[in-house]
């Protein structure tokens, strides 16, 4: 039971963070596609902007790893 709850907790940590990242990247990505269409030289900046919310899911991964490694 404990192991199961730990796994669910770890899954939620990554999953919810991934949803947050996905929502943010969806908006930034669609706006970024528009920017690149108008200004192709802004590709690097757009990649940078799209990549910024990924920190959330990486932090979620860190929390999940801690939950599994320390809590399990």
């Amino acid at each position: 039971m404990d192991a199961g709850l730990t796994a669910i907790g770890a899954g939620l940590a990554v999953g919810l963070a991934a949803i947050g990242t996905g929502l943010a990247q969806a908006r930034i990505g669609s706006a970024g596609a528009g920017v690149i269409a108008e200004k192709p030289e802004a590709l690097g900046t757009v990649i940078l902007l799209v990549a910024i919310p990924e920190t959330m899911v990486i932090l979620g991964f860190a929390v999940a790893a801690m939950v599994l490694l320390l809590g399990g």
Binding site: L43, G44, I47, L48, A51, E54, I58, A62, A65, L69
Partner: protein, 637 residues
């Protein structure tokens, strides 16, 4: 590394203007800037005479016509030779005047045929509806036919039309009507050709439109017209093919010549356009720009050789204001050159600031290799990269392929260190990890710590470079910001080391004091907002370090997907189906393995590393040189 640039001022007699322009263009190493950018140089902008302006306008018009022709005839791979640029304008204008009407006539006829080809099938459908109601009298000589289609809701109108027609033709017309589908009623009027005026008038009075067909199909009963339509439909592709053949013939004959004229004219226009950046006094002209320091001697000696002593070339002092406007040209060893494209993808570094290309060339492939870390995938990507490199000899695609090849090489190295080939398949064939097995549960914690340490080292290096840049730039705010981050981060490492018993507990108090000092310095760089933003920025810095966990996360995702592929293959009864599924999943993993580590390595550099020291926004060095024109023409000049 960026090349040292020198601001230049060239002053000469107006009589030498054209010679100077051509010499500078032949040199191809001087970037000409607008005079207004150099505040210390005083001269009025060079005014071009009316004849030159008229000639430029003529050339622009001719270039537009040449490009219009090339759009139709197609651009050849090579341009032809232009024998004499002096007579180019007249010769090109004359021949374009003769060629353009021919090409326009061909394209306009082709468009007409295409439109006809698209519209005829619509008439076919209508004519087919009339076929069942054709009376025998329609084929008798001296008779003509008119078809009418109306909606079945308005059949009353047809009755009225029928009555009028019979009256006006004294009963000599024959009218046949029938429902041809659920919504349409067709009427075919056959009458002696002499009554055409009365019939048209009767239809007009009832406001009914007769079926009108293209003149090319001729007159006659619907079956005859339909046969003509089929003949026309068969003939149109042949006519289009004939036109295409003529265009191909004209293209073979003309396109190389047209392209060479276009290039030669644009070359002349380029030379003339640059004159708008020149300045003048009553007798002399002045031009300002930039040249790499290594080319200065060549520029001075060549100008002196071709123009003589009436020309003065001097290097201007590089004031801070000019330094901000200096163009930048990167100069890196061939092995790191491909990474210039990745740096430029974000922004060119500003002149006089650090070019991170070499650092990126060092870290990017290692991060890529650490994430992918698989002998099998690495070897496949290496081979794919090498194969495509034979095709792409230059450009950004070649640069990306070279970075992929280097990253794949490191992936093979880390594959041996982790003991992975197509995930866990390597273990089955006896591959053992030289360092540690990252799939194993007891090694995951070590893997995560290792990536955090890599992040800490990478970001600390970035901050050290940032502090160095701030000192060189004499920027107090940057020094406080980056110095505060550096002190705070190192203090935090010390605290972690003390907590983990790697350092004596007695160092805890100095470490905490240093941490507070670091955060205070960081806050001070942000002004009054720093009280709130300073600690938030510091937490963001810790987030930057933790962001390097993605090196472990991406790698683990890849290895687990490979493991799934291998295990699914074993679980399926049929060996062939199992192998096919495994290959498909491995192929997906390979694509992800090429894409994901590239994007994440880029992100780690752009977001985490570069933001600690990088000053982007540089202006690319674009020397004035020939962009167009054939070699033969150049040699003739």
């Amino acid at each position: 590394m960026n090349i040292e640039m020198l601001p230049l001022e060239i002053i000469g007699m107006k009589t030498d203007l054209q010679a100077v322009v051509h010499t500078l263009r032949s040199l191809g190493c001087v970037q000409i800037d607008p005079l207004a950018d150099f505040k210390d140089v005083s001269a009025r902008p060079l005014a071009l005479d009316r004849d030159t302006l008229q000639e430029q306008e003529d050339m622009n018009f001719l270039v537009a016509r040449l490009e219009g022709l090339l759009d139709i005839l197609g651009y050849p791979e090579h341009s032809g030779a232009v024998s004499s640029p002096e007579i180019l304008l007249d010769q090109a204008r004359l021949e374009v005047d003769q060629l353009l009407p021919k090409v326009q006539a061909l394209t306009s006829h082709r468009e007409k045929l295409l439109a006809e080809q698209a519209s005829l099938p619509h008439y076919e459908a209508t004519l087919r509806k009339l076929l069942p109601i054709i009376p025998p009298s329609a084929h008798e000589p001296g008779n003509s036919c008119v078809g009418v289609l109306v909606n079945r809701e308005h059949t009353g109108v047809l009755d009225s039309v029928c009555k009028r027609i019979l009256e006006s033709s004294a009963g000599r017309a024959e009218v046949v009507a029938s429902d041809i589908d659920s919504s349409t009623r067709a009427m075919l009027i056959v009458f002696p050709i002499g009554f055409i005026g009365e019939i048209e008038a009767s239809l007009g009075r009832e406001d009914v439109s007769r079926l009108r067909l293209p003149a090319e199909l001729g007159e006659g009963p619907p079956d005859v017209v339909l046969a003509a339509l089929h003949r026309r439909l068969a003939a149109i592709p042949v006519e289009i093919k004939e036109i295409d053949d003529q265009i191909v013939f004209l293209s073979t004959e003309w396109s190389e010549k047209l392209l060479s004229w276009r290039d030669a004219l644009r070359d002349v226009l380029d030379a003339n356009n640059v004159l708008s950046q020149f300045g003048e006094t009553d007798m002399s002209f002045v031009v300002v720009g930039w040249t790499p320091a290594k080319d200065l001697e060549k520029v001075v000696s060549t100008l002196k050789k071709y123009i003589g002593d009436t020309l003065a070339v001097q290097v201007l002092p590089l004031t801070p204001e000019l330094k901000k406007r200096a163009p930048i040209s990167l100069d890196n060893p061939p092995i790191t050159k491909p990474f210039e494209s990745l740096v430029k993808l974000l922004a060119l570094p500003r002149y006089g600031h650090l070019d991170p290309t070499r650092l990126m060339a060092l870290f990017f492939p290692i991060f890529f290799g650490m994430m992918l870390g698989d002998v099998g995938y690495g070897a496949i990507l290496l081979v794919i990269g090498l194969v495509f490199l034979r095709k792409y000899k230059q450009g950004i695609i070649r640069d990306v392929l070279l970075t992929l090849v280097m990253g794949s090489g490191w992936a093979v190295v880390f594959g041996f260190l982790y003991g992975e080939a197509f995930g866990t398949l390597g273990e089955e064939i006896g591959l053992r990890p030289l360092w540690f097995d990252r799939v194993s549960a007891e090694n995951v914690a070590g893997l995560l710590i290792m990536t955090i340490v890599i992040g800490a080292v990478h970001i600390t290096l970035g901050l050290i470079l940032g502090v160095w840049e701030a000192i060189r730039d004499r920027s107090r705010s940057h020094l406080l910001e980056r110095g505060g981050m550096l002190v705070g981060l190192i203090s935090l490492f010390l605290i972690v080391a003390i907590v983990l018993d790697y350092l004596p507990p007695g160092l805890m108090t100095p470490a905490i004091v240093a941490l507070i000092i670091g955060i205070v310095l960081l806050s001070a760089s942000l002004g009054w907002l720093g009280i709130l933003m300073g600690p938030i920025e510091f937490i963001g810095l810790i987030g930057n370090v933790l962001s390097y966990l993605r090196i472990a996360a991406i790698g683990l995702a890849s290895v687990y997907l490979a493991k799934v592929a291998n295990e699914v293959a074993g679980m399926i009864g049929s060996a062939i189906v199992g192998i096919i599924i495994a290959v498909l999943i491995h192929a997906l993993n390979l694509v992800l393995g090429a894409f994901s580590p590239t994007i994440h390595s880029l992100r780690l550099h752009y977001v985490e590393f570069f933001r600690k020291f990088y000053e982007g926004g540089g202006r690319p060095y674009q020397p004035f040189k020939r962009q167009f024109g054939s070699d033969s023409w150049r040699s003739n000049r």
